[in-house]
Subunit: 290 residues, 2 copies
């Protein structure tokens, strides 16, 4: 087994302003700080360039979108090249007139746009009207062989689906990144909030365990209207153990060192991939089996 393969990941858990330019400036400044601390792969939270606009259905919000690559990713490409960091950036993509996606761009450490992943699972719930804004992604699941690691990127609601984590891991991802925007209804009880946060963290730790990969979840923080985004960004090792966890109500800017060789150790001791009964999994593509 490989003895060690260290990589430093940086997480940007931030509050967002209503001004895209301010959010971009904040993000660029955080990237610079993380790079100075030794971060090699940096993940921004979901839709970091704006407030979480999907809290309402408003045609005016489509003006927040841009082509990818485009003006929302170009400054990030320059920053990636300058600081020699890989960036995972979640943006609002305008693909064509009337066709928009919730998209993550992956930029390599030389500033090159490696490609995009478009969010596959689109929620639609009170305060999260994403089906109004985003067409379901058609990129399929993707792995990016960046300078420092092979990474998979999934986005927010994707995190509740073991299928997305499994397929991305089978494609060779060493780390699953989940840019996220999830929060508590400000009127809900502490008990409900605690249960929701714990479920969110637990299912993603489960993906780490099932697949023997590191999981990095990066969530926004701060109150926006009736939502209190719950922060709590975290990093789990390939057996689901928490290596880092952010506070709920503060910005956070950690650098966390992962040992990617630990996937080899855990997967050898717990050889789940060896024993998958792939001859029995075709019902996974059914909506329901009644």
């Amino acid at each position: 087994m490989t003895s060690e393969k260290k990589v430093n990941v940086g997480l940007v858990q931030m509050r967002c302003s209503e001004d895209k330019a301010v959010n971009m400036a904040t993000a660029l400044s955080r990237i610079e700080s993380l790079a100075a601390q030794g971060a090699q792969i940096i993940c921004l939270q979901e839709l970091f360039l704006s407030r979480y606009f999907a809290a309402t259905e408003d045609h005016a919000c489509f003006r927040l979108a841009s082509p990818v690559p485009g003006p929302d990713t170009e400054p990030l490409q320059a920053s990636a090249a300058k600081h020699k960091v890989v960036l995972v950036a979640s943006v609002f993509e305008k693909r064509a007139h009337g066709l928009y996606h919730n998209t993550a761009a992956v930029i390599d450490a030389d500033g090159r746009m490696m490609g995009i992943y478009r969010k596959s699972h689109i929620p639609d719930d009170p305060g999260y009207y994403e089906k109004f804004y985003f067409a379901p992604g058609d990129t399929g699941y993707r792995v990016f062989k960046t300078r420092y690691a092979s990474i998979g990127v999934l986005i927010c609601w994707d995190q509740w689906y073991p299928e997305a984590a499994r397929i991305t891991s089978l494609m060779g991802a060493e780390i699953l990144f989940y840019p996220t925007a999830i929060g508590w209804d400000v009127t809900a009880s502490d008990e409900t909030n605690s249960e929701q946060f714990d479920a969110w963290r637990t299912i993603q730790r489960g993906h780490a365990i099932a697949n023997g990969v590191h999981v990095v979840a990066v969530n926004r923080t701060g109150q926006e209207g009736g939502q209190s985004f719950w922060g709590g960004s975290f990093v789990a090792n390939p057996f689901g153990k928490l290596l880092y966890e952010a506070a709920h109500d503060e910005e956070a800017l950690p650098v966390v060192t992962l040992d990617l060789a630990s996937s080899d150790r855990y997967r050898t001791l717990w050889p789940f991939l060896r024993d998958r009964r792939i001859d029995t999994y075709s019902p996974m593509t059914a909506r329901y089996l009644d």
Copy 2:
């Protein structure tokens, strides 16, 4: 949404003797106790009729197996009828000369054998030489419409596979039962033990969350040779919250009340089933995607 559908589940976490007759008598006595406490569906631990024989590869151990239905399940059928309880019983099945399975029998509350599930995922690791004993199951995943609930049964190593939980849930399971025999190497550190137990619990709580079903895991306890079976049987609600958890090193005999209507509430508030991207899941049947 349905307002309430209560069911009482009983768990038998026990130590095993080397004598099958003693273990059967213990199990029958525990079933009687649980029924007296109001249990309606009772789950026994994996291979409760014997010590965990797969700790070594020994042809003599095949003598522990019996046909199903057969002498290992008939006393349970009588007990189920007498106490009007549903039983989930994990036994060592002799299917034909030289063909054995790790099998769970489900007996309805009138004593009728409803059917069997044969363990799909078979481990083989130091101390758990199951591939020597058990052919991989060919029943597929199964749901049993018992008198008190529609239940899915999966067995031990199956618990590490989100696919098994998903398919069984899509078939209509309201509760997933996991009879289990998992323990710590007596020479391992507390840190390793804690991480392993937590991973085991976390991934199964994740299945509850992903599928909006209750999960009931029933593990053995007691030291057998170099393995200290870790007990810790638990019940999780459809959002992964622990409703009950047993100690590691003691027998346990709890009755836990589940509200099956809570699946409807959680699945409506967190509509993961609505948004599955079934058009993207066909790679689930691949061994690896390199």
